[in-house]
Structure formats: C-alpha cells, structure tokens
C-alpha cells in the first residue's frame, strides 16, 4: 500500500471518527432534550395550549319564610389597565393618547380621579386595577368605548338586596368564606363544590372541542330558607331603632318567637350593620360588652334578666305546690336574713304590706321573690333554673354567650346568691335564653328548641326542619296559673291591647358598680294569653329618658305585639 493511500485512509478514519463524535454529541443533546428535559418541556408546552380552569360553584341563596331573597350573588366587573402595553403601543404620541384614555376612563368612572389614573398609568406593571365592582351600566359603557389596553375582569360578589335587614342573623361573606351568622355556620353547605375544566385552547384562549378535554361540573351550594318574616323583621328593626333614639338608649334587642314551634319570627339588634359594606362598620361597637357590631346581641350579649326572672321563681314554687296565686306574705319593703345574707330591698324601697303572689309580680317586689326562693330552697330552685335553660347554649350559631350562675354546689355560693337570683340578679342570661324560657310558659310548660332554618334545598334534595321539643319544664296546670298571674301583671302595668289578653313581666336590671339609673330595661311575655301565638322579648340597654322596663321597653313591646296581631290576622280573645 502506498503512503498516499495510507494517508488517505487515515484522513478517512479521522473524518469518520469526527462524524461519529458529532453524531454522539447530537444524540446526547437529543437525549438531553427529549428524555432528560422531557417532563419540564412537556409541562411548558401544555401550559401554552392547555387550559386548566377551576369552575367556581355558585354560593347558595338565602330566603326568608315568604321566599324573599336575603342573600344572593351578582357578577360585577373590576377594571384593569396595562401601563407597559399602553406605553409600547403608543410610543409616538404617548402623552396625547394617555390624556384621551384617562379622560374617557374618568367619564365612565367618576369616582376615580384623573390624577389617580395618571398615577396608575405611570406604574411599570403589566396590569393595574383601577376600579372594583363597577355598575353594570358602567361596564356596558366601557365595553362600547373599546378603550385600548383596558379590560374588564368579572368577579362574583355576595350581595344582600335588603341591606341591613336581618344582617346580624345572616352574617356576611369575605373572600368566599362566610363570616358570622348563618353564612358562617352553613358555609360548607352554601359554598358548594368547585368543578374543573381542562381543554386545549386556541390562540385567544378559547377551549377547543377538538382534542382531549375533561370537565367536572361544579356542584352549586344549597339554598337556605329561614323562619324569619322579612316584614316583621323590618318592622321590629325600625321600631327598635326609633325607640333607642327616642329614649337615648345605648343599644337594644328584640326577639319574636312562635310560641308553639320555637321558630324565630324576628330577631333584631341595634346598632347593626349593612353586610354589603361591612368594612365601614369595623370600628362600630355593638351591644354592651361587645366590641363588635357584627355579633348577634340576642345570643352574644348576656345580661342580668332582672325582674323578668321572677316569673320563673313563681313557676318553680307553683309547680312544687308551695304557693298559689293567692298565697300572701307581709312585705315591709326589705328582707333581713339571720345568717348574714345582705338585706334585700324592693326596687322602690316601698313596703306593700300584705300582698298576694300575683301582687308580688304586679309590684315586681324583690322581697316577695326572695321570700319564695327561701321557701323553695336551693334544692328545689336550681333544678327549675336549669330546666328553664339558663346557663346552657342554644346553638343557633356562633359566637354565643350562654351566661351562667352559681348554684349551691359552686365554690363561693351563699344564700345571698339564691335570694338575688330569684329576682334576676347574680345570674346572667342571653336574651334568647330568656325568651325561650317564656316560650315554655306560653306553650303549656313545654320548651321547644328555637330555630332559624326552615329548610335546606341541596340541589333538589329538600330537608325541612321539624319543630323539636326539648323538655317539659313545668306542668300545664302551673303554666295556666302563671299565665293568669302574668295577665294581671300586664294589666297592672297598663300594657294592654283592646280585645286581646296579654301576659308579660317587666324587668329593670342594674349593674354593680354603675349608678342606679344605668339600667337594662326589658319586657318579656306572650299573646294572646288564652292561646299564645307569639312570645316577645324587648330589651333596651341604658335608656336615659326613662329607665324602667315597663315605661321604656313596654311601649315598644305593645307596638310590636299589635303589628304581629294585625300582620297574622289573629282574632281577639276578649270582648272589650
């Protein structure tokens, strides 16, 4: 073999190996992209043309007893601008175009100043939100204008068409989650279940029917129907607000229950809030002891029930056959105890002399109630306090303050506690507990569980709440006797309605450490007394113009009772 041929062979070999090396490098590179980086590149590619969308479930609606909407959803647009894109689109005549754009935006969105818009366009950002939750009319005007580099982003919002109506019952929604009230308690039911949608998309992001796609439908939230009657709720709310303003009171609560079922017909607190603008009420205080206006005072704001408690003391003694309505005592206006228990005085320091048990209620005599409590003794008094539901949570929704009291088994208990609890001191209860206890008296001694939810409609599956009996607290006979005594008390206090019998007890509670004119005035009772349909509690905190239950809360109680009778066409049970 010649040298030239050998050289040629060598060159061929070098070229061959170089070719092989190149091929190996290319194969390595191919392996790197196709195998090593396959996962991340596939993800990147899919993210470009596959849309994975979460389908939000529409939140369930809330209705009142008559089917009026209390909470619903609407779609409102947020307005965005794209400052960087705008700057690159109009490099030649940027100032002129910017002025035109800002002027047009300001014309549609007068709440956003031109200075603010100019500032927003100055940001070096891809997108800036300039307005939130604009009106449908504004949305349409913006769509018609076709402004460059401005777009609308639809968002679903929870709205409450009746404003502050029953707001402390319903609560509100923040970032898709129920806060306070029924929105919080039934959040899981109301929220439903989000779905998903995956599909290949075109250049505009529209999903294509060609190619693989998968869709899991969203399950919309359950609709709730409440026992609340919007008309009565509105009447109660506005009447309470008027009464508080007229009497220069601090706050107040009104509850109306169905006497037979325990259904809540109306439940109002003042001050209250508008759930559509809940943020504006963040600094506002609620009832006494509450820093928060969003809490429901009927459940959360416990108080010393005062003389409204005397009805339960009498109920216990009547049920134990210790007294009859005509049992009499001598009331000198005070009651001393030999064991060192502090002396009990009547609220007006008056002595009524010989008075019957009915008169004890009429006079609201502390001495009479304390005497009955000593006759009962702790072993017969406290079981009744417990059966009437004091100190026990009701569970309508959270937060709730069930109040409390000391019994003869509690540390530090003394006879003084017993005698004071008999007329509503040294014991705290929520307004709902007090009205529930009166409901038991009205319902022949049978206590029903108060409830707000009439039915749940979970996508066609309807669950209706049945009235639930809790327990028999007193006998039907005791209930009837006590009702007669409470009717006399209403007449004595001049809280009457022509043609109707009314059974009530007033209460004026003072707080230790505060002056005697800082009271919590209340009236609790039911009507028509012969066949009770509604139980009503009115409580006003710190009224200034008049401080007593009968004079401060009494007129409001009567106004609400009268409206209930008219609204539900209740026949008179008495001849005039």
């Amino acid at each position: 073999m010649s040298i030239e041929l050998r050289r040629a062979r060598s060159r061929q070999m070098v070229i061959f190996f170089l070719g092989c090396g190149g091929m190996i490098i290319l194969l390595g590179r191919l392996y790197y992209w196709q195998v090593w980086q396959s996962g991340s590149l596939t993800r990147l590619a899919n993210s470009e043309h596959i849309q994975n969308q979460i389908l939000n479930a529409p939140r369930g609606l809330i209705y009142d007893a008559q089917g009026h909407l209390l909470a619903t959803n609407v779609v409102r647009d947020d307005v965005y601008i794209t400052p960087l894109q705008f700057a690159s689109d109009f490099t030649d005549n940027y100032p002129t175009e910017l002025s035109t754009e800002i002027h047009a935006l300001h014309q549609v969105l007068p709440s956003v100043s031109e200075d603010q818009l100019r500032k927003d366009f100055g940001f070096s950002l891809q997108a800036v939100r300039v307005a939130e939750q604009i009106d449908p009319g504004q949305s349409q005007r913006l769509r018609n204008l076709h402004l460059p580099d401005t777009f609308l982003e639809p968002q679903t919002w929870r709205v409450y068409p009746s404003g502050d109506l029953a707001s402390q019952i319903v609560g509100y929604v923040q970032d898709g989650k129920g806060i306070y009230g029924l929105e919080a308690k039934y959040n899981t039911l109301l929220a439903g279940k989000a779905g998903s949608f995956t599909a290949e998309t075109d250049l505009n992001g529209n999903p294509l029917t060609v190619g693989a796609s998968s869709e899991q439908d969203a399950v919309k939230g359950a609709n709730l129907t409440l026992t609340i009657d919007s008309f009565m709720q509105y009447f109660v709310q506005t009447s309470l607000q008027d009464a508080i303003q007229q009497l220069d009171a601090q706050s107040g609560t009104v509850i109306v229950l169905n006497a037979h079922t325990g259904a809540v017909v109306a439940m109002a607190g003042y001050p209250t809030f508008d759930p559509n603008h809940y943020g504006d009420f963040a600094d506002q205080k609620g009832c006494i002891g509450s820093e928060d206006v969003y809490l429901n005072p009927a459940l959360f704001c416990d108080y010393e029930p005062g003389s409204t408690m005397k009805a339960f003391t009498m109920a216990a003694a009547l049920d134990q056959h210790i007294i009859t309505p005509d049992t009499s005592i001598n009331d000198p206006g005070y009651l001393n105890f030999s064991d060192g228990t502090p002396t009990v005085h009547n609220w007006d320091d008056e002595g009524y002399g010989k008075e019957t048990m009915t008169q004890v209620l009429q006079h609201s005599a502390n001495v009479g109630a304390a005497t009955v409590a000593t006759w009962l003794g702790p072993n017969r008094f406290y079981p009744y306090v417990e059966r009437f539901g004091f100190g026990q949570p009701i569970g309508l929704f959270q937060p709730e303050d069930p109040g409390g009291y000391r019994t003869n088994t509690s540390v530090g208990w003394s006879e003084s506690d017993l005698t004071r609890q008999a007329f509503g001191q040294s014991i705290t209860a929520s307004p709902l507990q007090v009205v529930r206890a009166y409901q038991a008296i009205a319902n022949s001694g049978v206590m029903m569980q108060p409830y707000l939810l009439a039915s749940i409609n979970d996508n066609g599956h309807i669950v209706t709440t049945q009235p639930q009996m809790l327990r028999r607290v007193i006998s039907a006979e005791t209930s009837q006797t006590l009702t007669g005594m409470l009717i006399s008390t209403a007449e004595y206090n001049h809280i009457t309605l022509p043609g109707y019998s009314i059974a009530i007890k007033t209460g004026t509670a003072t707080t230790q450490g505060l002056s005697m004119d800082q009271t919590e005035a209340s009236v609790a009772g039911f009507l028509p007394a012969s066949n009770p349909q509604f139980v009503i509690l009115v409580k006003l905190d710190r009224p200034q113009k008049t401080i007593y239950g009968g004079t401060a809360a009494g007129p409001l109680w009567r106004t609400i009772a009268q409206q209930l009778l008219a609204h539900y066409s209740i026949s008179p049970d008495q001849s005039q």
Partner: protein, 143 residues
C-alpha cells in the same frame, strides 16, 4: 368472487377454447386498477390522499366553526345569567320593606305612629258575632 366465477366458467371446457379461457380469466382476475402503470397509480394515490386531506380539513374546519359557535353560545349564556342575576337583585331590592317604605314616604304616605303602626288609643276592635275563623283556628301558625 371473481375467482369463483372464473372457476365456475372453467368447468365448461366444451364451450370455449383454452386460450380464450385464459384471457378471460386474466381479465377477471386483474381489474383495470391493477392494469394501471406506476405513474398513473402514483397520481391516483396522490389524488386520493389529497382528497382525504381536503375531506379531513373540511371536517376540522366545520368542528372549529362549531367550536366558535359553542363559545359564542356559552358567552351569551353567561351574559344572560349575569343579566338575570342583576334583574333578580334589582327586583329583590325593590320588593324589600325598606325600599317600599321609602317610596311610600316619597309619595306622601306615612305611618300614623312611628314607624308603621297604629296608635292603640285610636283603635276600635269590632266584635262580630257568629263569624267562623278561616283556616285551622287553634292550630299553630307557621310564620
């Protein structure tokens, strides 16, 4: 089928000569498709592939058009749902007791006692004898 017919024909040697039988058999076994030259066959294949491609693209085009229509319908549905929600919201607002009271006051109507009640002092209850109650009488109300 061709084969079967050919063999059936071939079973009658008395009628035709052997040569004509072979020609006939070839004609039956090789239809015009197989008698094409390679160029013609290629062109035919290309035409068929082209036709299939046009057919496929036409189908895809129709699907894409349908997809656009579907998108339009979905958008219209969303807009209608949104409009419906707005109308329900407006209707509920205008049926709310607060709105009705406000409108009534604007019309000059007002309660005789704040906010909507009647003064009990001015109220007379007229008892009418022999009237029968409507509904269930003593039964509990369902508010």
């Amino acid at each position: 089928m061709y084969g079967s017919r050919a063999w059936t024909t071939a079973t009658s040697p008395k009628a035709r000569s052997e040569a004509s039988l072979l020609t006939q058999r070839r004609r039956h076994m090789h239809p015009s498709f197989f008698r094409m030259g390679p160029s013609a066959l290629c062109i035919t294949c290309l035409l068929m592939v082209g036709f299939m491609a046009v057919l496929y693209l036409s189908q895809v085009g129709q699907v894409v058009a349908a997809n656009h229509q579907l998108q339009d319908i979905r958008n219209a549905q969303a807009a209608l749902e949104r409009q419906n929600q707005d109308l329900v919201d407006t209707l509920t607002r205008e049926q709310s007791p607060a709105y009705i009271a406000e409108q009534a006051q604007k019309m000059g109507l007002g309660p005789t006692m704040p906010p909507l009640g009647v003064d009990p002092k001015n109220l007379w209850v007229v008892q009418v004898s022999h009237l029968q109650e409507m509904g269930q009488g003593d039964g509990p109300l369902q508010p």
